[in-house]
């Protein structure tokens, strides 16, 4: 029988590896048995108070306990939304308004915020949930479960400023995780070092692959990412063998000059997703860790984390673009007027409580008018290279026209990021003034970068405005916070 509920993996791990570490962080650790027992207790508490298929908001620090709350929600037949506890309370309130949670599970220090945003939801302080399990109640919830029931709703920023809740079913996660464990050749007992916050969908791979492979997930303290040397020390001490990080995190480690074989003795798999991976960063990692597996992945939250992947199987120059490769198994990728569109079991059923936004992005496949087949329009541009690999070109809204030329900002960024003396950088278009603005950090000055870029991109693609920054802010998920930098630029304009 095929898997219909991600909890089947949890129960298998509990049965086969009960005393093995499941989730840990410095100073705390839970085994698979402990996670399963705690999750059932939380599930019982919720099931006694709220109906199945209700939204549950989780307001906790990233911790093993938070994972128990998420899985406990699934035991109650409900779905979870982890919130970034550091986001402005106003945005939390907007999300709560869209989601209308039936319950809020909160960590001790978030009690006051939880009360203010809960509205009519049942409030459950995590430490106040006792360890009793109501087996009958959980069995009832389990028997009414179908694999199209939601597992989670993650909120992403909408272009209009109103967050969108991307809903994902058990079935999509099962489809994705079974693919990932096989394609990424994950061994039993794999040990992930987690960078992604739980409100960011890269964490889905971390959490459920470690569960399915009866491995473990080590939660790296967020502060470690400020100190690359300490970060690598932590990975070695925790014996992490697999990481799935945003490229920005990999770039900052590479630029700090701390990558050396003796500093990453346990690492075997380096996966990345969420941003464009600069080949220069990849090459720095490969020279320190030549034997590791490197896999580039691509996908928006709406298709369950990843829909295309590329295992690095050849050399790339710093100035090359890395392919996003091929569709994952059981996934269809169509290029419609250059736009990457996705179909398959991975598709979200839509944005929660937002039918109009859903209808605009999830549309009938125009190539299959005979039958209802929904595809998701990513808003990303892609093409096939001459090897038949998918190449990411950029966002559709980052495509600009200048002097009749169609320009992809992504191409300019690729050239910028490959330049010597540039640590990180990106480009955006100031449409009002018709200027390409380039932002970078690193030692190189404008002329040095311009000279290097001139041989890589046509003259009409060279930036007009050069904005050197000492550092670039990052978003909660660890990507470059482009919006803040753009705002900084806007404020500096007359």
């Amino acid at each position: 029988m095929s898997t219909r509920n991600v909890l089947e993996w949890l129960e298998e791990a509990e049965r086969l590896s009960p005393e093995a570490v499941a989730f840990d962080a410095p100073g705390e650790s839970l085994t698979w048995r402990e996670v399963a027992c705690r999750a059932r207790a939380i599930g019982s508490c919720l099931a006694a108070r709220i109906p199945a298929q209700s939204p549950v908001l989780i307001l906790m620090d990233k911790s093993p306990a938070c994972l128990c709350a998420m899985l406990g929600t699934a035991y109650a037949g409900c779905f979870y939304t982890p919130l970034d506890a550091s986001m402005p309370e106003k945005r939390m309130a907007v999300i709560a308004e869209i989601l209308r949670p039936a319950a809020v599970i909160y960590g001790e220090k978030f009690g006051e915020i939880a009360k203010r945003i809960a509205n009519r939801a049942v409030l459950c302080g995590y430490s106040g949930i006792d360890n009793q399990t109501d087996e009958d109640l959980l069995r009832t919830r389990k028997s009414s479960h179908i694999d199209n029931d939601l597992l989670y709703v993650l909120f992403t920023s909408g272009s209009t400023g109103v967050p969108k809740g991307v809903s994902i079913t058990h079935r999509s996660v099962v489809d994705f995780v079974e693919w990932a464990c096989e394609a990424l050749k994950l061994p039993f007992g794999v040990r992930f070092g987690s960078q992604a916050p739980f409100y960011f969908d890269n964490s889905v791979l971390d959490i459920y692959c470690s569960m399915h492979m009866r491995g473990s997930l080590f939660l790296i303290p967020r502060g470690d990412f400020m100190f690359p040397k300490r970060l690598l020390g932590r990975l070695a001490d925790a014996k992490v063998d697999t990481i799935f990080w945003v490229p920005s995190a990999l770039t900052s480690v590479a630029n700090a000059g701390v990558l050396a074989p003796e500093n990453v003795p346990t690492l075997k798999r380096v996966f990345f997703c969420g941003e464009v991976m600069p080949c220069r960063t990849l090459n720095l990692w490969k020279s320190a860790l030549p034997e590791a597996d490197y896999v580039n992945m691509y996908g928006p939250t709406e298709i369950t984390d990843v829909c295309a992947w590329y295992r690095v199987d050849r050399e790339f120059a710093d100035t090359d673009s890395l392919p996003i490769g091929f569709p994952c198994a059981n996934t269809r990728i169509l290029l419609i007027d250059g736009e990457l569109c996705v179909g398959g079991t991975c598709l979200s059923p839509g944005y929660y409580n937002a039918p109009e936004k859903t209808a605009a992005a999830f549309v009938q496949n125009p190539q299959r008018p005979q039958i209802r087949e929904i595809i998701y329009k990513t808003g990303d541009l892609a093409e096939l290279n001459d090897r038949g690999e998918l190449m990411f070109l950029g966002r559709m809204d980052s495509q600009i026209k200048r002097s009749g030329y169609r320009i992809e900002l992504g191409e300019i960024e690729c050239a910028l990021q490959s330049a010597h003396g540039v640590d990180s950088g990106f480009c955006f278009y100031d449409a009002a003034r018709e200027k390409i603005v380039c932002v970078w950090t690193g030692e190189a000055n404008e002329k040095e970068i311009r000279d290097q870029m001139k041989v890589l991109v046509p003259k009409y693609m060279l930036p007009d405005v050069w904005m050197h920054q000492e550092s670039l802010p990052s978003t909660g998920s660890g990507k470059i916070d482009r919006v803040s930098v753009k705002n900084l630029y806007e404020h500096s304009q007359p």
Partner: protein, 78 residues
């Protein structure tokens, strides 16, 4: 000018809502985030004319004002 005063003035430019004089675990308690940290490194660079190597430092160098001053001294003497 007293070096500690100079340091505290530089830190106040970065975050005027943090009690740099008395906080002892700025990083470990999450009082400062990664953006604050890069701005602090820049401020130290400007105030004392030193360059802080990103790969060499740890949270212990930034948990309180005294440890930052110690870091400055060690870099000035190196």
């Amino acid at each position: 000018m007293d070096e500690m005063r100079k340091l505290l003035d530089a830190l106040a430019e970065v975050r005027d809502d943090v009690d740099f004089e008395n906080e002892q675990a700025l990083v470990d308690d999450g009082v400062i985030d990664s953006l604050d940290l890069t701005q602090i490194m820049l401020a130290l660079d400007e105030a004392f004319g030193i360059h802080i190597p990103a790969g060499e430092i740890g949270p212990e160098n930034f948990n309180n004002a005294q440890s930052m001053l110690d870091l400055v001294h060690s870099l000035q003497n190196s």
